[in-house]
C-alpha cells in the first residue's frame, strides 16, 4: 500500500510526539490559581492575549497585531495557540508559564484561518480551520507544534466555512462545524454564498483525514450556521449556531449531534432563538458534565441547558457576554464579556464572583489553561 507524504509526516510526528509529551506532564500544571486566557481589545485600541488568574490578576499580556478569536489550549503542556479572527493571517503560540518565547506562524498562500484550532491528543500537532481562497472549500491545516509550527499537511473540512473544530475524547476524531458560508479576504468579513448555505458537522479521522460521517443541517433551515462545538463527558456533541436569515424565522440555536446521531435542535416551547437574536457566541460544558452553557451577546445573556433532558433551565444577564469555559468546581462556568467582566458562576453561591478589568474588552472566547 502506498503511503503518501502527508500521511507519512503525520504518522511520524504522532509517533515522535508521544514520548516527549509524557515528559511534559511531569512537574507542570501545579500553579496555585487557575489561569484563563482570552483575547482582548485594550483601551488604546490595541489587541492582546491576556492570561488571567482566578484571583483577578493579569498574569501576562501578549500583544497582537490584530484582533484574535479563539485560543487552543494544551492543558498538559500548558501551552496555547491564539488564532486571528476570520479572515485570519496569523496565529501565535505561547507558553502559559513563560518558559519559551511566543512563536508566530501563518497559513500558506491562498489560505486563511477561521479563528479556531485544536491540539492533537499528544500535543504535537495543531489542527486549524482554514479557507481555501481559490476554491472556497473548507480545509483543516496541520501544523507541527515542535517544529516551529511548520505546516505539515491538510485535509478537507468536508464543507464550506469551517469555524470551530474540536478533537473528541477518543483522540482520533475531529468534529468540525462547517458554518456554510465563506468570505473573500479582499472584502474582509462579508459573507459569501449565504443563500446557498449547506452547513454541517463533519466527523473526520485525524490519522487519515478521511470523512467518517457528515450530518447536514436540515434543508429547511439551511441558514443556520453551525459555529461552536463542545463535547460532554457522556460523548454527546452540542453545538451553538448563528442564524443568517430574518429574525422572525429564527429556529432554535442549540442542538446535539454525534457520530451516530443526526443533528437535532433543542426544541423549546418558547422561541428562544428569537429572544437570543439568532446568535450564539460560544458554548461550554460544566466540569461535572451536567450543564451546557451558551452565550448570546446580542441579547446580553448566558443560558443554561440540562444536558440530560435538553431543557433550558437558567439564564444569566451579562452585557456583551461571549466567552465561556468550564471553571474549577463541578458546576462552575467562567464567562467573559466585552465590558471587561470575568464572572464565575456555579451552584455554590460562595464561589460566585465578578472580576472587572478596566481597559479590557474581552473578545469572543475565553479558555481555561
Amino acid at each position: 500500500m502506498a503511503i503518501d507524504r502527508r500521511q507519512f509526516l503525520i504518522g511520524s510526528l504522532v509517533a515522535l510526539g508521544a514520548a516527549r509529551h509524557a515528559l511534559a506532564v511531569e512537574g507542570l500544571g501545579n500553579t496555585a490559581t487557575a489561569v484563563y486566557a482570552s483575547g482582548a481589545r485594550r483601551a488604546d485600541g490595541s489587541y492582546a492575549v491576556l492570561l488571567i488568574g482566578e484571583d483577578g490578576r493579569i498574569l501576562r499580556e501578549i500583544p497582537l497585531s490584530a484582533r484574535c478569536h479563539d485560543i487552543a489550549i494544551d492543558h498538559v503542556a500548558r501551552r496555547g495557540v491564539v488564532f486571528a479572527r476570520r479572515p485570519g493571517f496569523f496565529a501565535l503560540a505561547f507558553d502559559a508559564d513563560d518558559r519559551r518565547e511566543p512563536e508566530v506562524f501563518a497559513p500558506p498562500e491562498g489560505r486563511h484561518f477561521y479563528g479556531h484550532g485544536t491540539f492533537s491528543k499528544d500535543g504535537r500537532l495543531i489542527y486549524a480551520t482554514e479557507h481555501d481562497v481559490d476554491t472556497g472549500d473548507g480545509v483543516i491545516g496541520l501544523y507541527d507544534v515542535t517544529g516551529g509550527f511548520r505546516r505539515v499537511g491538510e485535509f478537507p473540512s468536508y464543507g464550506v466555512g469551517p469555524h470551530e473544530a474540536i478533537l473528541l475524547s477518543d483522540g482520533k476524531t475531529l468534529a468540525i462545524a462547517n458554518g456554510g458560508f465563506g468570505n473573500d479576504p479582499a472584502t474582509g468579513r462579508e459573507s459569501i454564498g449565504v443563500a446557498e448555505m449547506a452547513p454541517n458537522v463533519a466527523f473526520v479521522d485525524v490519522a487519515s483525514g478521511a470523512l467518517k460521517v457528515r450530518h447536514e443541517v436540515p434543508a429547511g433551515i439551511n441558514l443556520l450556521s453551525v459555529r461552536h462545538l463542545v463535547e460532554t463527558p457522556q460523548g454527546d456533541i452540542w453545538f451553538g449556531s448563528q442564524w443568517q436569515g430574518g429574525l422572525e424565522d429564527t429556529p432554535a440555536l442549540l442542538g446535539r449531534v454525534g457520530l451516530d446521531r443526526p443533528i437535532a435542535l433543542l426544541e423549546e416551547a418558547d422561541p428562544f432563538g428569537i429572544a437570543l437574536k439568532g446568535y450564539i457566541g460560544a458554548v461550554a460544558v460544566s466540569g461535572d458534565g451536567r450543564l451546557l452553557a451558551a452565550s448570546a451577546p446580542l441579547a446580553g445573556r448566558v443560558i443554561y441547558a440540562d444536558v440530560e433532558t435538553g431543557k433550558l433551565i437558567h439564564e444569566i444577564r451579562i452585557k456583551d457576554s461571549s466567552g465561556l469555559t468550564f471553571g474549577s468546581g463541578g458546576s462552575e462556568f467562567v464567562m467573559s464579556s466585552g465590558a471587561g467582566v470575568v464572572r464565575f458562576e456555579s451552584d455554590n453561591p460562595n464561589s460566585r464572583k465578578i472580576l472587572n478589568f478596566t481597559g479590557a474588552e474581552f473578545d469572543n472566547h475565553i479558555r481555561r489553561v
Partner: protein, 372 residues
C-alpha cells in the same frame, strides 16, 4: 498660592463654559436628545420607508428603460437612458444596503438585489448558463425569483448592461434577443423584490409596527432598547461596508508589491465612486435621523465639529475615487484619499460607538457589534 488656585479655578470654569457653549451653541440650535423610541420611529418613517419606496419607483423606471432598449434595437440613446436608470438604482441601493433587519433579511432579498462579493465570478457563470439554455419560461413574471440569487439583481444586470463587446439590445440573433429579454426580466425582478420589501414594512402586520410596538406580547422586540440596537447597528454595518467593500481592498491592492488591481463593487458600470459616495451621504443622513449628534458628551466639545467634518471629507474623497482610480492609480493623491477615508470611517465609528451611542444609553460591546 491662593491667587494662583483661584485663577486656575476661574480658568477651569471659563474653559468649561466654552466647552458647553461649543456643544450647545444658541439654545434654539441644540440638537434634540431623542428617546430610543423616537430614534426608531424617525429612522423607519424618515429614512427607511421613503428610501425603499424610492427604490421601488426607480426599478419601475429601469424596467421601462430596458424594455425600450430591447424594443429599439439597442440605440445609443436608449442604452444611455437605461444606464442612467441603473445608476439611479445603485445610488438608491447604496443608501439602503446596510439596513439588514426587517423585510430585506427574509427570502434572500439582500443577495437577490445585490450579489456581492463575487470573487469567483459566480454571477457571470450562472448568467452564461441561462443565456446558453435560453429557456423562455425564465422570462415569465416571477420565474427568475426561483433561480440562483446571483442572476436576480444588480450584479447580473451590470454584466448585461455594461457589456461593451455585446451592447445590450443590439444583434438580431436569438442569443442577443434572449440577453435583452433576460435583462428586462432582471429589472422586473428587482422591482418585485423592492415591492416585497416595501410591503413588508407596512400595514398592521408589517415590520414597522413590530418595531414600534415592542412589549411582552411582541415575539421580536421586548422594548425600545432592543429596536434601537438594530437601528444603531445599521450605522456600524454601513461604515464597515464602505471600509471593507471599497477602501481597504483598494488600499491593499495599490500598496502591495507589486501593486495589484482589485475588482470593486459596480466597477464595470463605472459606479464604484458613486456607490461609495451615496452610501456615505446616506449614512450621514441616518446618523442625523437617529439623532446621535445630540449625544456629544459635554466634556468632548471637539466632537461637535469633528463628525460633520469627517462626513464632508469622506463625501469629497469618495467623489474623487473613480477619477483617481482611472487616471492616477497609485498616485500620492489616490493613496492620500484612500487613507483619509480609512481614517475618517474609523474615527466616525469610534466616536459613535465609544461615545455618542453609550451616552444615549445604547451600549454595544465588541462581541455584539462584531462577533463571529
Amino acid at each position: 498660592m491662593i491667587a494662583e488656585r483661584l485663577s486656575k479655578s476661574a480658568l477651569a470654569i471659563v474653559m468649561g463654559l466654552v466647552a458647553i457653549s461649543l456643544v450647545a451653541g444658541p439654545a434654539d440650535a441644540l440638537p434634540v436628545r431623542k428617546s430610543h423610541a423616537t430614534m426608531v420611529i424617525d429612522t423607519i418613517d424618515k429614512f427607511i420607508v421613503p428610501r425603499v419606496d424610492a427604490l421601488s419607483a426607480k426599478t419601475t423606471d429601469l424596467t421601462s428603460a430596458i424594455g425600450a432598449v430591447c424594443k429599439d434595437g439597442g440605440s445609443e440613446a436608449s442604452r444611455k437612458k437605461a444606464t442612467a436608470a441603473y445608476a439611479e438604482i445603485v445610488r438608491a441601493w447604496a443608501g439602503l444596503d446596510f439596513i439588514r433587519f426587517g423585510p430585506v433579511s427574509r427570502e434572500h432579498r439582500l443577495e437577490r438585489i445585490f450579489f456581492w462579493p463575487d470573487p469567483r465570478g459566480f454571477a457571470s457563470r450562472q448568467l452564461n448558463g441561462l443565456i446558453a439554455a435560453k429557456k423562455p419560461e425564465l422570462l415569465e413574471p416571477g420565474a427568475l425569483a426561483r433561480q440562483s440569487v446571483a442572476v436576480q439583481g444588480l450584479t447580473a444586470l451590470e454584466i448585461l448592461l455594461y457589456d461593451e463587446k455585446k451592447p445590450l439590445g443590439t444583434g438580431t440573433d436569438e442569443a442577443a434577443q434572449y440577453r435583452c429579454a433576460l435583462a428586462g426580466a432582471i429589472a422586473a425582478n428587482l422591482h418585485a423584490i423592492a415591492e416585497e420589501i416595501s410591503t413588508g414594512w407596512k400595514g398592521d402586520d408589517g415590520y414597522r409596527m413590530k418595531m414600534l410596538t415592542p412589549g411582552s406580547d411582541n415575539a421580536l422586540y421586548k422594548d425600545a432598547s432592543e429596536t434601537v440596537r438594530d437601528v444603531a447597528k445599521s450605522m456600524a454595518m454601513g461604515l464597515e461596508l464602505c471600509r471593507d467593500r471599497v477602501v481597504l481592498p483598494e488600499l491593499t491592492a495599490v500598496t502591495s508589491d507589486p501593486p495589484r488591481r482589485v475588482r470593486l463593487a459596480f466597477e464595470q458600470a463605472g459606479l464604484t465612486g458613486e456607490y461609495l459616495q451615496s452610501s456615505i451621504i446616506a449614512l450621514k443622513e441616518l446618523y442625523e435621523t437617529i439623532g446621535l449628534d445630540g449625544y456629544v458628551p459635554v466634556d468632548k466639545p471637539w466632537m461637535v465639529k469633528f463628525v460633520p467634518n469627517a462626513w464632508s471629507s469622506l463625501i469629497a474623497d469618495a467623489a474623487k475615487l473613480d477619477d483617481l482610480r482611472s487616471k492616477e492609480r497609485g498616485s500620492d493623491a489616490h493613496l492620500h484619499a484612500m487613507r483619509k477615508m480609512r481614517f475618517d470611517l474609523s474615527g466616525i465609528r469610534q466616536i459613535i460607538f465609544k461615545e455618542l451611542a453609550p451616552n444615549a444609553d445604547i451600549d454595544m460591546g465588541i462581541n455584539e457589534l462584531d462577533g463571529d
